[in-house]
Amino acid sequence: MRRFFQLPWRTRQQIRADVDDELSFHLDMRIDALVASGMSRDEARAQAIREFGDIDDARRYIRAVDHDIEAARRRSDYMNDLRSDIVYAVRKLRGSPMFTLTAVLTLALGIGANTAIFSVVNGVLLKPLPFPQQDRLVRIQFRQQGHGDASTPPDLADFRTRARGFDGFSHFEGYTANLVREHAEPERLVGAEVSANWFSLLRVRPLHGRFFSVGEDSPSAPQVVVLSEPLWRRDFAADPAIVGKQLQINAQLMTVVGIAPDGQGYPMSAELWVPTRFSARDLSDATRGARWLGMLGRVKDGMPLETAKAEVEGIEKQMEGLFPEQFKERRARAIQLQTAIVGDLQRPLYVIMAAVAVVLLIACANVANLMLVRATARESEMAIRTALGAGRSRLVRQLVTESMLLSIVGAAAGVAFAKWGMGVLIAMAPADLPRVKTAAIDGTALAVTAGAALVIGLLFGVLPAVQTSAGDLANALRAGARGARTRRQANRTKRFIVAAEVALAVTLLTGAGLLIRSFRELMAVNPGFQPDHIMTMRVLLPGKTYDTLPKIASFARQLESRAAALPGVRAAALGNAVPLDGTSFWLTFVVRGSAPVRPSDQPSASIRTVTPNYFTVLGTPLLRGRAFAADDRVNAPRVAIVNQTFVKRFMANEDPIGKYVEIGWTIDGVRQGGQIVGVVGDVRDDALNADVDPTFYLPFDQTPVEGIVITARTAAPPASITSALRGVVRDLDPTLPVYDVQTMEQHVAASVSRQRFYATLLGVFATVALVLAAVGLYGVIAYAVSQRTHELGVRVALGATGTRISRMVIGEGVILTAAGVLVGLVASLGGARIIAKLLYNVKSSDPVTFVGVALLLGVVAACASYIPARRAARVDPLVAMRGD
């Protein structure tokens, strides 16, 4: 039943008293009746009690029932109130569709962007790796000047025998597989070579079959391979019977022993795993200088990580005592696997998360101002409801219901927006951002979103409520008074909020401005080659088939000449790498005839092996001497070309041409190297923002390699020759997969994809922030003008010109903005230091950016104030003064 008014709820004591009253009324009535029929009072009482039965039991029972009735009533009253609050709120919100739409869209934008970015950051940084007790897994890294952080085969043995705090250690390195199946294109797969204990170290269980067993990483053991679940589904139709069968990988037969469950794509998004197979020589002390292996360890359960880390450093010290030469200045350290993977992503991703949080703050500020304007407009409504008996808490509840409704709808729309945004983000994200492809809006992200919506809803409900009830409500009812004091206070709050908004937007704009300027600096770098109209693709010749240098050289010669003969190809060349493809290969060298140096003090340089046309195709200028020629064959005198940096670094005061350089690389017993015949321009091989490597080029014919990049300069758009170029490879060897098919411009783009990603995201957020701040500013100024119509009318009547009035209004907007800009710029000076590490060729206090942002906001503020200013200038004094 619906009641039209609420009965007050009964307390426990009231129920107790009511029950006692009811029962004693009964007894009294009965006693009176019996006395009236002639009984004595005592007899009557005794009979009444007898007739009643177990009165204590009844009393207990009734109290309990009444208590339940009361609780149920309270619940239903609450639900009724809530329902009517919601109905009322919906009616109110629908009554002002512009307000509602603006608020919901603003919130959806802010919340949605946060949900999307949080989901990405969560997927990349925060979500634990999919291995049991993954926090016990550590990378063992060996830092040494001029080398990476890799380890050697003997290192693994050292750590296995010496470490006490670890369950085990395992090696891993990248592995490339050419998989040839019947009735299918040959496929190039990324895999990993790992120690036999790899999977037990990760504590992963096989989906089917088994993982490697002890001893399967010895060179004499039969060849085995573990496939990943995605590969197994894609290429083998998820057939469990594949376990035990043999596959042709790199021209060898390997037995599939097991399937690893999805999500285990570590290291390097591996799709298959083979055991590392070290020979006795690999494991001897002779290889202590050759570092190419990653090392993983698992800290024993219950062993503090710090102790384990200290142990790793201790072992390195012991080894340095045994092999002082190789371990000189080498430092070993253990880093949690997740931290190692995330690496230098942490800072930029947190910066982006902070940026998007600022966008939400600005969005909230705008909505807060909207709510304040609304609250002012509703002062009389609230006053009337108070007069009709609505308590203060009831009014606050009503306002909170409205704002919660807004924030919930905003959040829901935001999640939909985030879903779309995630697609864009993931497509835009750099390919080397780990785990980004699997990032999704999950429970955690939704919980964060819901939390944000809750806080926002509460805040926005309570804020105007406090604002409204802060002033004298009765004041609002009194005609003419119009709660002037409250209003002035509310306006001050609004101005403060807008100035804060501007300040926040300034910090985002300077951050984005710095990153964008840095990105433009990066793109303006001369890479040392002309990236347009170049197509590149890679093949890897399996050592089993191409087991002699003449075989490789003959394949390469045919490949190059056929590629060059394709219509639309101006020139074609081969090399072991192309600039910016992420491969570089360093070796030590000695110049013949110079004073002998100890092996550990020999200089090193980047080594590249290329065919004669390589520099023509890339457009790298020959500065001195000659390029390689077709005559620089195996049996011809060995020659070499160096780049400018090489000359500057190592032969600054002498003529490089004619010097003979020997490098630390022996093929078939022949020490590689050659006589320098030419000098070429510097090429940024590693990254546009990295120093140029001293580089030493060898002719491909004299130093052939199995991993070949084909490059072709085209007349038409480079992609147009892709299939023809693939066809050349297929005709020569149908079992060779072609991969890494990219134009040179794509290589350049990929090399700066992180910087582009950060700059784009921050740019987008800054733009949104700017628009929101402009809208907020406009709203406040426009509202102030509409409030002051009366005053403006008086001014016009007293002789103020329209120009003067509009200048006054614009001035107000500019002053508000100037305050915000000032605070924002100071905050940015501090904030920019956080992103200083991400900047290239731009100082974190770059004056161009800071002044630019200040000017931009000045212009935006003037525009945002211009419209209300024009309205103010047209105020008709008669209408304005009558209208009040």
């Binding site: 009511d18 009324f25 009643f52 009444d66």
Partner: protein
Amino acid sequence: MASEPMDLLQGTLDVLVLRALRLGPMHGYAVSRWIRERTDGVLEIEDAPLYKALHRLEQAGHVAAEWGFSENNRRARFYRLTPDGRRQLKDEEAAWRRYAAAVFKVLEPA
């Protein structure tokens, strides 16, 4: 009295209380008196279960209670049938009549 008073069958009290309230709002004492008079003391009815029944019926929504003043001007809790209670009474009454008719049919000399 012809014989010893009989115990009340389970659930019978509820229907008696509802029936009493069909006369109009009354307090517990009045309900108790009315039932005793109607049954001529054939049924042994104590007041404790009667009050328990009243509150139970209130919880079920069959009756509604309100404080008012008795004929001798004392504060008393008055009960009245809700539309729900009226329906409930009708259903239970019909059920009782069917039940009694069936029993009579068996007892009637063939």
